[in-house]
Symmetry: C2
Subunit: 394 residues, 2 copies
DNA sequence: AAGGTCTTGAAAAGTTCTACCAGACCCGAC
DNA sequence: GTCGGGTCTGGTAGAACTTTTCAAGACCTT
């Protein structure tokens, strides 16, 4: 929280409590009030406020005070109120205070639709996310929301119902128009990213990608490296090779992790067994392929493409009577919060998804301001050593 | 900001690719076009369209066509275009088609800010959520987003940074204004709900609550019942009593689950040991208190207030050499997706959070339409029996 | 022919921001 | 001491784009 330009909107610090309504202190007030046909800004709102519980809602909406009401009460022009509200600097401190007081009295709040219309800025950032059941995007979403709010931006969420091209397109369409000032895409899927290419979104777009090269408008994690670290670790322990449970097709994370795994294995001159395919990121899939792996006695090290996989794999191994890490070492990816409490505690790779959200927002904002910048550096994954890995039984 | 003034009239985007401008098919067109000073909708713009990749973005924003452009091209009034766009029924099919054609040609899209200003409706639903690390709210959020979109509504997300009253208030403030047509509060916390009471949000509000009574504007799960089911199950197995690892203070889920646990224990005339307190919903906390429980030989059945707790508890038990479910039975709550793959597979209570999202949206929408309705029925939890419970060793 | 219904259009309303202008004030210079 | 120029503050006018309201015209039915 902390920062925030103090200048921003209504919630400016504490304004002068107590004291007579500023009216008396304002020589100009009466004159100006007349100018607008005495629509009585003073009492009307406060009286009509509580007719009954029901009507309340409607009432408060239709008769909301507007800038000119505030201006009249404060004895200034509507334009000056606008300046105060927007946090412009060139307003006399005294006048500013007077206006703020009036704003409070009237319980005035800016009408964002009108502001957006006039300024052509919506002060909101759109987020397109695929599902929310996967750890990464969810945490990143939280990071985005918080960061955006700190900069005075709202967050507009669109979830992708499916991976069919037309649905993806529809999702983007729904955010396309003038509803947002910038977009962050939390859908690290090949299809989603490619749809993006032939779509003309009229505002800055930042994507979240996994395993891609650094670029000015995508924040990505060096997952290839993460995967290599996993394999390296396992090889260092003495395993002859590492089996891989790969993620479902279409996800960038899947290919990045496969790539890193294959690269490191190749660099070490090891045989690379065919990765086991899955259809989603669930523990159920991990369990399914885990049973196949458990049946093979030559499997001593497994790199699961995410933590739930690892959980399922370990369960399958356990049921087959194979000890982890005694007989087989297992490593996950993501470092879910529960990983330390798996039995054994899971060795895995940590990615800072919340940071991804922060960074993405930062970049979108600077793109909006048209500040020049370079590539966003890749985020470094960290290998977290816990108890699911050990040297192979010799 | 760059362009603007130039954006005035002549700027209708690229229409008509190949084929004659539909002018020929429109008897009225020429007359009307003249009426506007022959601003030539046809060619001029297409030239100015692709100056270079950079300008594109800005250009597309400032020179967006508006309804009157469409109207002119289609040879109808702007008002008629509005009707077509809004899907009003009373438009001649022929005219509607003509307008739609024009819309496509110009790539027209409605300006939501202007629409919101004029109609006083924003077509968006606000969601106030506390964190996103807890399973329930996250899944519910997804349900909300999908359901809302299906009804043509967007979702605006505000996350609660902390539980301090002022932060909670700030979050609501930020959504208060005229930015949304309705609000769903996914913060099943005593404080959040109470702040709500003395806040005047000008639109319908639906809350997600746990363990509360049915009401017209809150969708809640009968967690008291869920907790009772857990205890009943454990008692039926022959346990003398059930220990409870309760959630962190302030959460409705915490009190509801405690209440159900105490009620059922009381009804059965059992001694109710003091629940073990926690400070958050993490597995780490479950592990911490789990160690205390593991040290007591008289503990044979544990009801953990959520699944991560259960995971931590089981780990602590395991480390203490106590078998689950042989020595101690453990039941969780929530049924996270991974629960079946815990070892042993976790017996727990399932809540349908996604449904909660759907229901909440449905209710908000009907409140917006001011349709009368009764209480939202409580959602029923389901006890999912798996492998962490067994009769006590006798 | 009168009365209705349906379709279409013209004008006003909704609230804020931007651009531009005018006056006040301050400074040094004449 | 007063004048010119620059700076700062506040004001006026108009633009941003759609929806709503009301009225008029077309066409059909009784």
């Amino acid at each position: 929280m902390a920062v925030r330009s103090t200048s921003r909107s209504p919630e400016v610090p504490a304004p002068v409590i107590g004291g007579a309504p500023i009216g008396g202190a304002l020589p100009a007030l009466s004159g100006i009030a007349g100018d607008n046909g005495g629509v009585s800004t003073t009492s009307a709102p406060s009286d009509a406020r509580n007719p009954n519980g029901r009507g309340e809602r409607l009432a408060s909406r239709s008769k909301a005070p507007r800038m000119s009401d505030v201006a009249r009460l404060a004895g200034v022009s509507q334009q000056t109120v606008s300046r105060v509200v927007r946090g412009a600097t060139n307003v006399d401190p005294d006048i500013r205070r007077r206006v703020q007081h009036a704003i409070e009295q009237l319980r005035y709040r800016r009408n964002p639709a009108a502001a957006a219309l006039a300024s052509n800025r919506t002060m909101t950032i759109g987020v397109v996310s695929f599902e929310l059941s996967v750890l990464g995007p969810t945490v990143a979403l939280y990071g985005i929301s918080e960061e955006a709010r700190q900069h005075g931006y709202a967050t507009r969420l669109v979830t992708l119902a499916s991976l069919e091209r037309k649905d993806i397109r529809a999702a983007f369409e729904s955010i396309n128009s003038d509803t947002v000032d910038g977009v962050i895409v939390l859908a690290p899927l090949l299809d989603a990213i490619s749809v993006l290419d032939d779509l003309d979104i009229g505002v800055p777009v930042v994507t979240f990608q996994q395993g891609s090269q650094p670029s000015p408008n995508s924040v990505s994690v060096d997952e290839v490296k993460g995967a290599r670290m996993v394999v390296r670790h396992l090889l260092d322990l003495g395993h002859k090779t590492v089996w891989h449970v790969q993620g479902p097709p279409g996800w960038m994370a899947t290919s990045a992790r496969v790539q890193g795994w294959a690269e490191e294995l190749g660099a070490a001159g090891c045989f690379a067994p065919t990765p086991l395919a899955t259809s989603d990121w669930s523990a159920a899939e991990g369990y399914r392929v885990g049973r196949e792996l458990a049946a093979r006695q030559d499997v001593t090290a497994i790199f699961a493409a995410n933590d739930p996989f690892a959980l399922g794999v370990i369960k399958a191994l356990d049921e087959a009577g194979r000890d982890v890490p005694g007989d087989v070492s297992v490593v996950g990816f993501d470092d879910v919060k529960e990983a330390p409490y798996f039995r054994p505690a899971l060795t895995t790779v940590r990615l800072d998804f919340e940071a991804i959200g922060h960074i993405a927002v930062g970049r979108v904002l600077s793109m909006i301001k048209e500040e020049a910048e370079g590539d966003i550096p890749l985020l470094e994954p960290r290998l977290i050593l816990r108890d699911t890995t050990a040297p192979p039984r010799s």
